[in-house]
């Protein structure tokens, strides 16, 4: 499959670059942790309320950290007319979209894998056994974020004030994901099971599928504009 | 504020805003119409020159 090969090729390039220079992932990781610290000072979180507020705070931290990653997403392509070169090649534009989505997704998942337990330690939470289920919900939400975020990262690529514009456009459209992820995590923390959270999870999956498809189809027009 | 006070406040804001916007549009319309006709006439001169 030509598309898959091209996607993997671009993805491999990005991952290799990241592995060597580690700029995005370190910055994102420290920013995410820093946010957790700031939350601790900004919100008085008594021990009983910590579990209630955990999903919201965590997801806020991921949202801002992820936005940081998104603004960096096409950085490599912007330098040295790399993007023009890519567009001149007969490469399928959709594979660039797929590669960027997976790249951002990998970064965010790695960070979440570390930040989740870190949050648990910092805020003295119990329920360590629920972490995998919580992570699954966060995973679905992160997919939604990456899918739409990558598209809008490309949309705002050549706009002025893009660091401000990107969240301005992205966040209102992300509201279903924010609501579904946080409510889903809350329900799991409260009841320990998935059953009540199913409608939220279905919404998340629907969101992911719809906007993955739309992004996949539309990206070509955006990147060539 | 009485009930009618709220009603008049709401209706007042709505129609005021709509009127302002309409006035704005009409002003833009007249301005661009003038510009267009001046460009057209001078453009015609250029063509013939």
């Amino acid at each position: 499959m030509e598309l898959l090969k091209q996607t993997l090729w671009v993805l491999w390039k990005d991952l290799l670059l990241e592995l060597r220079r580690r700029e995005s992932i370190l910055a994102m990781f420290f920013f995410g942790t820093l946010l957790l610290f700031v939350f601790h000072f900004a919100f008085e979180i008594p021990a009983e309320k910590a579990a209630e507020m955990a999903p919201g705070l965590l997801w806020l931290a991921f949202l801002f950290t992820g936005t940081l990653g998104l603004t960096q997403l096409f950085q490599a392509e912007r330098e040295n007319h790399c993007l023009d070169a890519l567009l001149l090649s007969p490469m399928d534009r959709a594979s660039l979209y797929l590669a960027k989505v997976f790249f951002n997704l990998s970064l965010m998942l790695l960070i979440e894998l570390v930040v989740f337990p870190l949050f648990w330690v910092l805020f003295n939470l119990a329920f360590w056994n629920l972490l995998p289920s919580l992570f699954l919900v966060a995973f679905l939400g992160t997919i939604g974020f990456c899918v739409l975020g990558t598209l809008f990262s490309a949309v705002t690529l050549k706009a002025r004030a893009r660091e401000l514009l990107l969240p301005l456009i992205l966040f209102p459209l992300m509201i279903p994901v924010i609501l579904a992820t946080v409510r889903g995590m809350e329900i799991i923390l409260r009841t320990g099971k998935f059953t009540e959270a199913f409608s939220w999870l279905r919404l998340l999956i629907g969101f992911d599928v719809i906007f993955f498809t739309v992004g996949f189809l539309i990206f070509e027009w955006v990147i060539e504009a | 504020m009485s009930a009618w006070g709220f009603v008049f406040l709401a209706y007042g804001i709505v129609w005021f805003a709509l009127l302002i916007y309409l006035g704005n549009l009409k002003r833009r319309f007249r301005k661009v119409e003038r510009e267009l006709s001046s460009l057209r006439s001078s453009g015609g001169l250029k063509k013939n020159a």
């Binding site: 739409l148 598209l151 809008f152 949309v155 705002t156 050549k158 706009a159 002025r160 893009r162 514009l165 301005l168 456009i169 966040f171 209102p172 459209l173 509201i175 279903p176 609501l179 579904a180 409510r183 409608s199 939220w200 919404l203 629907g206 969101f207 719809i210 906007f211 739309v214 539309i218 027009w221 955006v222 504009a225 | 009930a3 009618w4 709220f6 009603v7 406040l9 709401a10 209706y11 804001i13 709505v14 805003a17 709509l18 916007y21 309409l22 549009l25 009409k26 833009r28 319309f29 661009v32 510009e35 267009l36 460009l39 057209r40 001078s42 453009g43 015609g44 001169l45 250029k46 063509k47």
Partner: protein, 236 residues
């Protein structure tokens, strides 16, 4: 070419006059003829502008969606102008909806703002509209700006049902349904004048909307023509 312009101008004027007529009749029905609500009193009359405003705002967004889709497909300038015009007027009507809702809420609920589903959704709609317009103004290349904002227009519209669902679930799970919502229409014992008032005002708003849209569209077309003339000299 000039013939269609004239026909359009005439159609616009007719719409405008009709709109004015309906507005005046609507005002009469809303403020004088319709009786005050059994529970809320006269404050409920705000409904006669609030409901048409909401519907007009959503209609506008739908037109942004259609314009954006058509533009992405055919790349014809006029579709972009349509989308842009509808977005501008949409921001106006959405803002008005929020203001009306807030004013209605103060005497009814005692607060200027509440995170109930209707107000929250309208606020989100406004944010998406604003994002659309800001994107346009911050991208310097004309064509790229048009394509990119069209993408926002399409995705924004596709997202609306999902936003709707998530906000409604969130609100119904957390708030007791005992709060009297001003948009809950009491269908039993409805006085016919109330329905007429609503219908007339609704027609008035729709007519006014299309009048404004058509005017704004024409302005947009002419501004485009000015730009082209300036760029390429007298060839028209």
């Amino acid at each position: 070419m000039a013939g269609t312009m004239q026909k359009r101008g005439r159609g616009r004027r007719v719409t405008g006059i009709l709109a004015l007529a309906f507005i005046l009749v609507g005002l009469y029905f809303a403020l004088i003829e319709a009786p005050p609500d059994a529970y809320q009193g006269d404050v409920q009359r705000i409904m006669y502008v609030h409901i048409p405003s909401i519907l007009t705002a959503y209609l506008s967004f739908f037109i942004v969606f259609i314009g954006s889709c058509l533009f992405l497909w055919k790349r014809e300038k006029r579709d972009d102008i349509l989308a842009r015009s509808a977005a501008e007027i949409g921001v106006l009507f959405t803002s008005l909806t929020i203001i009306e809702g807030s004013i209605w809420g103060k005497p009814t609920w005692g607060v200027w703002w509440t995170w109930d589903a209707r107000l929250t959704l309208t606020a989100i709609l406004l944010l998406i509209f604003v994002g659309y317009l800001m994107l346009r103004s911050l991208i310097e290349d004309e064509n790229r700006g048009a394509v990119c904002s069209a993408v926002v227009g399409v995705i924004g519209f596709l997202d609306i049902p999902l936003i709707h669902m998530s906000v409604y679930w969130w609100r119904t799970l957390h708030q007791p349904p005992s709060i009297l919502r001003p948009d809950k229409l009491p269908w039993e014992n409805v006085h016919p004048s109330m329905l007429i008032a609503l219908a007339v005002n609704f027609a008035a708003f729709i007519l006014l909307y299309f009048y404004l849209l058509s005017l704004r569209f024409r302005v947009g077309e002419m501004e485009e023509e000015v730009k082209t003339l300036k760029l390429y000299g007298g060839a028209s």
